[in-house]
Structure formats: C-alpha cells, structure tokens
C-alpha cells in the first residue's frame, strides 16, 4: 500500500518553479511603468553617488557677476542662481542630500515601526494596548504640525528633520506590521513552530517578519517619495537643511523670491523632486502589483 502511495505522488509535481520572491521579481520586471520608475530612480541615485567624481563646479562657489543666468549659458548648462552658483551642480549635490534623507527617514521609521508592530501584534494584550494607543496619539496629530513641533524641540537642522519626518512615519508602519502579524500568528505554521519548541523571538523574526514584508515593501517604496517631499517641505519652511547647503527644498525656497525674473531657479529643483517622487510611486505601484497575493499562484 505504501509503495502505491509513492507511485501516485511522483507524477503530480510540476517542474521546478521559482520561489515567491523570484516570482515577485519576474512580475515586477514585466511591469513597464515600474521599470520606467526604476530607471529614473537609478539615474538619480547614480548621479548622487557619482557627484564628487563628476566634472562639476563647486555647488557653493559664489560668482555675483553671473547671477541668475538662464539655462544654456556658457559653462552653466542649467544656468545659475541668485548668487551665481551653478544650478546643475547644486541640483546633483542637492539630490544627494534630499534622496538620502528620504531613504534614511523611511529606514528609521520602518525599523522602529516594524519592531513595535511585531511586538504589539504578537504579544497582544498589554503591549498591544500601550503601543497602539501611543501610535494613535501620534497619528491624531496633523503630521506637519507634529514634525514642526519635533523640530522645534530638537532645533532646526538636517538630522533633526530626518528624525522628525521618520517619527511621523512610525505609526503607519507599526499599523501595517501589526495587521499582518495578527493574521500570521494565528496560522498553523506558527503553531507548528511552537510545537517544535521555537522561541517567540525565533518565530517573530524568522516566520512572521518574512511574511509581513510584502505589504511593508510596498509601503516603503511609496513612502520614500513622501518623506523626500516632507523633508524638502521642512527645508522650504526653513526648519530643515539650512542655506547655503544645496538641498532641493532650500533651493526651492530661495528661488521662490526670483520666480518672475528667473523661474528656472525654483522650477528645476521642483522638477527634480517631482521626478524622484514620481519614480518612487511608479516603483511602489509596480511592487504592489507584483506582491499582490491575489495574483499569487
């Protein structure tokens, strides 16, 4: 009888297929819009990384004789700003700061939000109540107000802006992760792990966390754009990066005064922001489709 069982099952498994992550990647790479986003983001990141090695002017070199030159001027491909600084150089150096703020702020928010969400969702009861009520309080504040008040407490500056923006993001991640944790902790494979004798730590990090990643990845990709915007917004308000630092928000804010005479000074950093945020959103949408459980085999 046992031999017969073996015979029956041997023919029914199809040829080797890729794992869930590989399948996600395959679906993602077929999504044209997402690829456009990825290429766009790739260019921005490449430029930002290579900035020190590119033949660019010093982004802070002032040349008052050549103020507010329009794009296409000799030696200044994208013109100059109100202090005669090269726009192209400032854009690329500014991208370094703006984009990295976005990623770091999301990174901080994800790490803390995930840990809090996992604890709340897995242990429930006391932890859940305390953590999630605190997250509710954070969410109840208008986010700009919250960020401004954190900066007000810590003092203006680049690092503090990053912290402020990421604190605003923590509750969202905590919620996403808690939600998935609640689903997965009740599943039988978690019960099986406990029957084997796995510790809570092991179950949380090796079994629940990997299953929470898909919605988290989507949220991250959509949020990086938002965080870049928020950080630039803070800089625009004069709370984040301080002039003369080349940062897109600062550049926008400074260029605003000359918007009638030389629109390119504010338009260009605005366009750069727009492109990066658009790229992140396209990638996020693509990832969401690729990770969607409904299309999963």
């Amino acid at each position: 009888m046992a031999d017969m069982n073996i015979q029956v099952t041997q023919h029914t498994v199809p040829k080797k297929k890729a794992g869930p992550w590989a399948q996600t990647w395959r679906r993602f790479s077929r999504d044209k819009a997402a690829l456009v986003g990825a290429v766009l983001l790739g260019i921005v990141i490449l430029l930002a990384v290579l900035a020190p090695f590119l033949p660019l002017d010093d982004p802070n070199a002032v040349n008052l004789a050549k103020r507010l030159q329009p794009p296409g001027t000799d030696g200044h491909l994208l013109g100059t700003d109100e202090l005669g600084r090269d726009m192209l150089s400032r854009l690329i150096w500014g991208g370094r700061i703006s984009v990295s703020i976005g990623f770091f702020a999301v990174g901080i928010a994800v790490v803390f939000g995930t840990i809090l969400g996992l604890i709340a969702g897995y242990f429930q009861k006391f932890f859940d109540t305390v953590i999630m009520r605190f997250m509710d309080i954070l969410m109840a504040f208008p986010y700009v107000l919250l960020a401004i008040s954190i900066i007000a407490a810590l003092g203006p500056g680049l690092i503090n802006t990053m912290i402020a923006v990421s604190v605003v993001g923590i509750p969202y991640y905590a919620r996403i992760v808690r939600g998935s944790t609640l689903t997965f902790r009740e599943m039988e494979f978690v019960m099986a792990e406990r029957a084997i004798g796995a510790s809570h730590f092991h179950i949380i990090f090796w079994h629940i966390l990997p299953n929470c990643l898909p919605p988290l990845i989507v949220a991250v990709s959509l949020d990086v754009g938002w965080m870049i915007l928020a950080a630039s917004g803070m800089s625009f308000l004069g709370l984040g990066a301080q002039p003369p630092l080349a940062e897109w928000g600062v550049m926008l804010s400074e260029g605003r005064k000359f918007i009638r005479m030389a629109p390119h000074v504010s338009l260009l950093p605005g366009l750069a922001l727009f492109c990066v945020v658009l790229a992140m959103n396209l990638i996020g949408d693509g990832l969401r489709d690729a990770l969607d459980p409904k299309t999963k085999v």
């Binding site: 498994v13 080797k16 869930p20 029957a195 084997i196 004798g197 299953n211």
Partner: protein
C-alpha cells in the same frame, strides 16, 4: 501496555472580556474536565462536532494553549508544571500534525528549510546528517528527495500534508497528535494519507491521538474512541464496543448519522432537536440534556460522572 500519556481533569477556559475596561470576565469552557490516557502504540480517536473542544484538547496537551487546570502526565512528568526550556525537551517526543495543509507550511520557506527547522531548533545532528535526514524523511512520506528545494505552493494538498507529517517525524517523536489531519483533503487522498500514517505507526511504534469529526475515518484508524460534547468526554470505549453498542444517547445519534453502503439497509436516524448550546453558557447538569431524548429530572441538575460500565467502556450518563 504502559500508559504513555495521561490527562487528568484537563480544563481549558478562554476568557471573554466585557465592558470598556475589560473588567467583567466570562469564560468559554472549551475543555471542561477531560480525562483519558493513551497506551503506547495505540490510536485514540477523539470525535465530536465542531466547537466541542477536541482540537483545544490536543493543543492543551502540547501547551500550545495554556490549560486552566488539570494534569498532563507524560512518562511520569506533569507537563503543566514545566517551563519553556523543560517543555522544549519534551516536545521532541510529542509532535502534532495540523488540519489545514495550506496554512501549516510557511509559504516563504523551501521544504528543506521547513524540515530542517526542528533539527536546528533542537541542535540535533551535523549539517551533513541533517541533509540526509531531510531526504530520508521525504522518501519516508512518499515524496522525492528532489522536492526539498521546492516551495509549498508547488505541491497539492495531499502532498503538503505529507510534508507536515514529515516535519512531525523529524524529531522521532513517540506520540503524535493529529488534529483532523485528513478533513481538508479529498476522499481519495484521505485514504492515502491515512494509510501512510498507519504504515509509519507500525514502522516507528508511534502513538496517535487522532482528532476527527468523521466517524468512518476514526473507525478505520483507531483502537479506542472518545466522544466529546461541549468540552466533555461523554463516552470512551474500545472501537468495537463503541461502534457496536453505543451507550450514550449522543453517541447513538452520531452513529445513526453515518451513511451505510447498502441501499436496502433501513435504519432509524436519531435526529437531534435544537442546536449545540453556547459553550459560554453550557446547560446545568448534563450538557447534553437539552437535546437528549431520554432526559430525566436528574440530568438537569446533576452532572453525570464518567462511569465504567464494562471493562474499557466509560460513559457519562445518568441512564446507567
């Protein structure tokens, strides 16, 4: 034969919070004073309708759900008194097979990793031996060694259940609690999986606590059968005496619902009136008295104890 596991007066209550501050507490008595034992090498079937507490009983034994009271004695040690570390040692001997083969395997792990988990957690064998063991296990349950590199979604329900069985066998357990292991499978696949479980039992001298709601499956599989109703065992007997001469009215009605493969066979179906009472608020006295055809006055007030009618035939009913 020796008693491998003995459960005495097991109670598992789940609190329900009421009110804004969670002050008032009520309990769902999922398992209410259940006692039985398992002899080495036998299969005890545990049957009952949905929500009667059979799965909770299984989970309570493994301390996956914290029981409220009672004793669970495995080889002379009370599992209720063990801490996490001590319990981990015992878990090598006590394993579980789950009901839903789709949720019992982590979809983000390969079969190899799923089977390596128990050995990693218990720090058994060298890496090389572990690899060998994974392959042996796969062949033992009727899969192929190459399947180790695949993911759960590439397998059918029956094959997934085989993987679940392989995982339970990894630590070479003595007792396996099978929580409705075939109820999620096709009838044709059910037979295959049951036969596999029986072969493994012979091969390794396993003891099964077989939880199911399908009486025919239990009859095929068990040596003794316990019938549960609303968190209590109402009848516990050898397979033969239970199926041939059921004593408890509830067992009688359950057995009368089993289809018989004979178109000319006429039998009286005992159709129960009403629904299963809410376990949050079970009836006073005998839990079954609200639906029992032979209900007496005493049934409404006094809870019948589990009495031994004949050797190995226990019934909790005032009729006897």
């Amino acid at each position: 034969m020796e008693k491998l596991l003995e459960v005495k007066g097991l109670k598992t209550y789940f609190p329900i919070k009421k009110g804004v501050l969670g002050k008032k507490e009520e309990y769902v008595k999922a398992v209410d004073d259940v006692s039985f034992y398992l002899k080495e090498g036998e299969t005890l079937g545990l049957v009952g309708e949905s929500g009667c507490g059979k799965s909770t009983t299984g989970r309570s034994i493994l301390q996956l759900v914290k029981p409220t009271a009672g004793e669970i004695i495995y080889q002379g040690q009370d599992l209720m008194k063990k801490n996490f570390r001590e319990m981990r040692e015992v878990r090598r001997d006590l394993q579980m097979i789950f009901q839903d083969p789709y949720s019992s395997l982590n979809v983000r792990m390969t079969i190899r990793n799923i089977l390596l988990e128990p050995m990693r957690i218990h720090g058994l064998y060298t890496p090389k031996e572990r690899e060998e063991r994974v392959k042996d296990l796969l062949e033992m349950v009727g899969l192929r060694r190459e399947h180790a590199d695949r993911y759960p979604h590439e397998f059918s329900g029956g094959q997934r259940q085989r993987i679940g069985i392989a995982r339970a066998l990894t630590l070479q357990p003595k007792l396996i609690i099978a929580d409705e292991p075939v109820s999620a499978l096709d009838v044709s696949i059910q037979a295959q999986v049951l036969n596999l479980m029986q072969d493994l039992q012979e091969k390794f001298g396993l003891t099964y606590l077989f939880i199911a709601h399908d009486l025919s499956v239990v009859k095929h599989f068990s040596t003794r059968v316990g019938v549960m109703y609303l968190g209590r065992i109402v009848e516990l007997a050898d397979k033969k005496s239970l199926y041939n001469s059921p004593k408890h009215p509830y067992t009688e009605s359950l057995l009368s619902a089993v289809p018989v493969l004979d178109p000319d066979y006429k039998k009286e179906r005992i159709i129960l009136s009403g629904d299963v009472p809410n376990p949050k608020n079970p009836p006073q006295g005998c839990a079954f008295h609200t639906r029992c055809a032979s209900c007496m006055e005493i049934c409404k007030s006094e809870r019948p104890p589990l009495k031994e009618l004949a050797p190995n035939h226990l019934v909790a009913c005032h009729l006897y």
